[in-house]
């Protein structure tokens, strides 16, 4: 973990799609990441201005689409954003979600 950085945890929960029973949750915590990975994750979150994103993007009603909940906890701050496939959310949010999915412990 990077020295002097406040601890951060990022969670991605996914539901919807073809299988209603399959709702994977991915978690990354900075204390288990390398310094380089910590910087990369923080850069993505800052670039997205994540803590100023709306809590929810409007439900699309698109058949079979996914719904996501992305939560970032850093120090005393905690913010969650709910978004869906093709609901118009900024693509930088997808970048965070992809990063978390590829670096997380899956449960």
């Amino acid at each position: 973990m990077a020295q002097d950085a406040p601890p951060m945890q990022v969670e991605l929960e996914r539901s919807g799609g073809q299988l209603p029973t399959f709702k994977p949750k991915y978690v990354v915590a900075t204390d288990s990441l390398s310094s380089e990975e910590c910087h990369e994750l923080k850069r993505l979150i800052e670039k997205t201005n994540f803590f100023r994103q709306p809590k929810q993007f409007s439900e699309t009603g698109l058949p079979d689409a996914f719904k996501y909940k992305l939560t970032v906890q850093e120090g005393g701050q905690r913010h969650s954003v709910i978004f869906h496939d093709e609901d118009g959310h900024p693509e930088q949010i997808d970048a965070i979600a992809d990063w978390v999915r590829s670096h997380a412990s899956h449960r």
Binding site: Q18, L19, S58, T60, G61, G88, D94
Partner: protein
Amino acid sequence: MCDHLCHPKGACFIIPPHMLEHLMSHAENPDIRKLATQNLYLQGQFRGMRMGISQFAFTGLVTGTKRRTIYDAQHQQQLPGKLVRSEGKKASQDVAVDEAYVASGTTYDFFLKVYDRNSIDARGMRLDSTVHYGTDYDNAFWNGQQMVYGDGDGVLFDRFTKCLDVIGHELTHGVTQFTAGLEYANQPGALNESMSDVFGTLIKQYSLKQSVTQADWLIGAGLLIPKPGTNRTALRSMKEPGTAYEDPQLGKDPQPAHMNDYYQGIEDNGGVHINSGIPNRAFYLAATAIGGHAWDVTGRIWYEVLTTRLNAESQFADAAAATREVAQQNYGAKAFQAVDDAWKTVGL
């Protein structure tokens, strides 16, 4: 009321469709293009999809012929992506591109030859598909205007272009959008899902020239990557709802086969992929009782009901009553008895 593109459901639509269409095609910012596309879909959904979307869908198109266009999202989530194959062009070196092309053509041919329906909107709408959407994306969906396919994660899910019935399922969401317009929640949503499964499997059976006894009545067989000690047969079973998969990671197929086990919760938009097992099984039972090719008599009954009898708020009981009525009026006592018995068996 809202004054921006991204708004809560039910808020005003301040931007007219023609402006959204322009934004969708010309806005420099991809997020604005996506918002405009989404907003156009929502406007169509709320105001009557045939007004909103079909106007867009016909822009610059010749109707009455099969028109397929395949795009590659190149693992991004921006639609439609890079054009990689259009109608009449030779096969690519990319299996997902060619599967999407062939299967959308099979779906077009099925609806035209069997039900005299010219594409999903009945007016020759071009069939657009995007493959390689996102990274390891475990899904396929219809976005109101086109098909979107992920590659799967390679561990649980294979590529979503692999199964003709899954492609037929998604394109049938388009047919439903332009006809009954079934809301995607609760019983109307489960009927929406069921209609997609019905015509998805009929497209597969038609392609394979299978009779009702030869068909497997599975949706997405082969899409889940097999693993010893688990059941990853398919996404759904119309014959035996609740038996398609059971796996520590995926969970257990939750579909009921009878109204006694109807799911009452709010997950999955009120159980659209869960309770669809009930009308799915009714179709299977009716089709096997009537016999022959399921797309023929039984499929025609369901097609007429989808396209002329149901509406956005239709319930299971409405579908049951309408299919009974169409069977009686158009196909006689034997068909009526088969349909009546099928619905009674599932508790309707």
